[in-house]
């Protein structure tokens, strides 16, 4: 269960005699929990542990006399496994902060445990926007993205760049319905039109009849309101039907660069999606990717990895300012009060509901001829400014927000 991935730093208590910080049990323990071997292993997995370690190194924890230890664990995308790991981490291993946790069902379970035990929870991998809505917690910061920002980014920006007519291919369960509902609302608000929708069983394998309906609808944009292997399979099969070549565009509402990598450009070309971060956007990102990829079997950093790096960095800053890691609420309070700034996400802030605010980007996957090589996959279609990228504070229904 517990796997000590590495000691990031060793305390140099003797050299920093000036200020003695109060670390509970003498060490700051960061627990990175995600899917280490399944569907989400590439977009989070061991790469997130690496990102956390890089953040600790770049922060210079060792020089500042902070002893940091990083643990990693696999939750197998099961909420009961995840909650078991987190309980053991907090009760037995004295972990101070839980990081990453893709799969919303696991994140929601962890959210409650961390609140109960008064530790800190930094979410990068999970999508559910109710983590900063009705389920928001004074111990939680949601860093990278959420369903609202994806639906809004993709819906809004596509309609504004000409994609007026939409057809939805929706996974038939609560998550798919929510994604479809949110995106459709954004599309219609911006003057677009939903010409049809079809629901496929979850999890699905054969999408042909649904895709043919989508093709026959003549909609400009086919919105994929599903996730994981459903998204991959529907994109693959859409490519077999020549849907993108026929002039329609696919918009994935929840997909990552690792999915594009797995599909390959010939299949994924023309796909439109929203992400919070892309390694080839600027020099800082490229430098990070150059350092990251060789240590992660060549897999370039995803927005989830970047989010882990950035969140851990900010967490350590708050600890430095606070000189204590004992009270989770106080730490998150501090994280909210100091503005965020790091080389990957730039300047930003954490709102009262725990939502980290930063710009989002709408990308289109390149054609094979446009790509200069592996991992050169995206061209930027639009930038969604920070103040529009996330759900307005008052709409979330978070009890922490005082109106």
């Amino acid at each position: 269960m517990k796997r000590v991935i590495g000691f990031a730093a060793v305390a140099l208590a003797l050299s920093c005699g000036s200020v003695q910080a109060q670390w509970s049990d003498g060490v700051i323990k960061i627990g990175v929990m995600n899917d280490m071997s399944g569907t989400y292993a590439d977009l989070s997995g061991p790469g997130s542990v690496l990102a956390a370690r890089m953040a600790v190194e770049d922060f210079g924890a060792e020089k500042k006399g902070m002893k940091v230890e990083i643990l990693g664990a696999d939750h197998q995308n099961k909420p009961d496994v995840g909650s078991n790991v987190v309980r053991t981490w907090i009760d037995v291993d004295k972990v101070d902060v839980i990081v990453d946790v893709p799969t919303s069902s696991v994140a929601l379970a962890v959210n409650e445990i961390v609140r109960e035990k008064n530790k800190v929870f930094l979410i990068s991998g999970a999508a559910a926007s109710n983590l900063t809505g009705d389920k928001c917690s004074p111990n939680t910061v949601h860093w990278t993205y959420d369903t609202w920002s994806l639906a809004n980014g993709t819906g809004n920006a596509i309609v504004k760049t000409g994609g007026k007519n939409w057809f939805f291919l929706t996974a038939d369960y609560a998550f798919g319905h929510a994604l479809e509902r949110d995106t459709a609302a954004v599309v219609e608000k911006n003057g677009g039109k939903v010409v049809g929708k079809v629901r496929h069983p979850f999890p699905g394998t054969d999408f042909s009849s649904f895709l043919l309906q989508a093709q026959a609808s003549k909609a400009q944009i086919i919105g994929l309101a599903n996730a994981g292997s459903d998204t991959i399979n529907s994109i693959k099969q859409a490519s077999e039907f020549g849907i993108v070549k026929g002039g329609q565009n696919l918009a994935a509402l929840l997909a990552f660069i690792t999915d594009v990598h797995a599909l390959g450009l010939p299949t994924a070309q023309g796909l439109i999606m929203t992400e919070a971060w892309y390694w080839d956007l600027n020099d800082n990102n490229r430098e990070f990717a150059k350092k990251f990829a060789p240590q992660n079997k060549g897999v370039h950093p995803t927005m989830v990895h970047a989010g882990v790096y950035s969140a851990v960095m900010h967490y350590l800053k708050a600890l430095e300012a606070l000189k204590s890691d004992a009270d989770g609420k106080a730490v998150v309070e501090k994280m909210k009060s100091i503005p965020t700034e790091d080389k990957l996400f730039g300047k930003g802030e954490i709102r009262a509901d725990g939502r980290h605010i930063h710009p989002m980007y709408l990308f289109e996957v390149k054609k094979p001829a446009e790509s200069k090589g592996a991992w050169d996959y995206y061209k930027l279609r639009a930038t969604i400014p920070a103040n529009e990228a996330f759900r307005p504070l008052k709409d979330g229904g978070c009890p922490l927000v005082k109106s």
């Binding site: 269960m1 796997r3 099961k78 309980r87 053991t88 069902s105 929601l108 379970a109 409650e112 609560a174």
Partner: protein, 320 residues
């Protein structure tokens, strides 16, 4: 005369070895929190009760149900919902879960016991899958997210179960109570009839037993106890999720029972301990856990077919 004496002596060694086994088990359950993380141990106890309930059906009636996750999972949903939304106290929530298990067991049993062997297994699997998809879609189960932040509440309105020790004692009591009930059922005249049905149903019918009724009652009892286990688990982990109604959970309980020893009283307990312990301590290998489980299953079937406890009992020539 001589034979009779022998039989009585056999009966005595059986009950004596079982009594010793029970004392050892109680001692282990009492001491376990000192060296095993209590939440993990509570989870093991729930699965042990679940496996014992399953063993009642396969080990003593010879009915292989492949849909026991239905009772386990739905009971956990019912108790979680009752505790969270209706504000039931823990004991009422667990009773609600048990009744849900029994009710579902009655319906599933009425349909399934009309067929034998593979058809029985397939009918139970089909019913479980139906209810799985219902759990995915129904709004009150929370779909993918499950029911979270279930309050443990106060037992009888007095004892706060948020306290780890109080919770552990409660779970241990539920487990031991369930275990004793099952062993009482097995050794009762009713249990003897069940065993007769297992050995030769046609002969039991010819002796005048209405085997359908016996089988149905055994099925309902097994489902109700599986429900108790599921309901308790929901309170311990404060979570009811799709994992518990998924068909792989039905498979896992078969595995626990087989590894521990089919048709032995203690086998399922040992099996649950081994399988859950393995899932916990090998969690770092991720999906490999399933592969390792598979290998252990194959080794078990090839080398010690009677399971851990079954082989041990055969070696010591006692019944466990």
């Amino acid at each position: 005369m001589k034979q009779e004496k022998f039989a009585i002596a056999g009966l005595q060694t059986r009950s004596r070895s079982e009594a010793i086994g029970f004392v050892l088990m109680v001692a282990f359950v009492a001491a376990a929190p000192l060296f095993i993380y209590p939440v993990l141990m509570m989870k093991i106890l729930c699965f042990a009760l679940f496996a014992c309930a399953f063993n009642l059906l396969i080990g003593y009636v010879g009915l292989l149900s492949f849909g026991h996750a239905l009772f386990f999972g739905w009971a956990s949903y019912v108790s979680a919902y009752a505790a969270k939304v209706w504000g039931f106290t823990p004991e009422l929530a667990i009773i609600a879960g048990t009744l849900a298990g029994a009710g579902l067991g009655l319906v599933a049993g009425l349909v399934a016991i009309r067929r034998q062997g593979i058809y029985f297994a397939m009918i139970t699997l089909a019913l479980a899958q139906m209810m799985y998809f219902f759990a995915v879609q129904a709004p009150f189960t929370g779909g993918e997210d499950g029911i979270q932040a279930v309050p443990r509440g106060k037992l009888f309105g007095l004892i706060d179960l948020a306290d780890q020790t109080a919770m552990y004692v409660t779970v241990a009591a539920i487990f031991l109570g369930g275990f004793l009930l099952i062993s009482r059922i097995i050794h009762s005249p009713f249990g003897e009839v069940l065993k007769a049905i297992r050995e030769n149903e046609a002969r039991a019918v010819s002796l005048g037993y209405k085997t359908e009724r016996y089988k149905l009652l055994a099925f309902v009892l097994s489902a109700a106890l599986a429900g108790t286990a599921g309901a308790t688990k929901a309170l311990i982990l404060q979570l009811a999720s799709l994992t518990d109604v998924h068909w792989s959970m039905s498979g896992e309980v078969v595995l626990m029972t087989l590894v521990g020893g089919l048709g032995t009283v203690f086998g399922p307990v040992v099996g649950a301990y081994v399988i859950i312990g393995m899932q916990n301590y090998l969690a770092q290998f991720g999906q490999w856990v399933t592969v390792i489980q598979g290998v252990i299953f194959v080794v078990c079937v090839l080398l010690f077919r009677r399971g851990i406890v079954g082989e041990l009992a055969a070696l010591l020539r006692i019944r466990l």
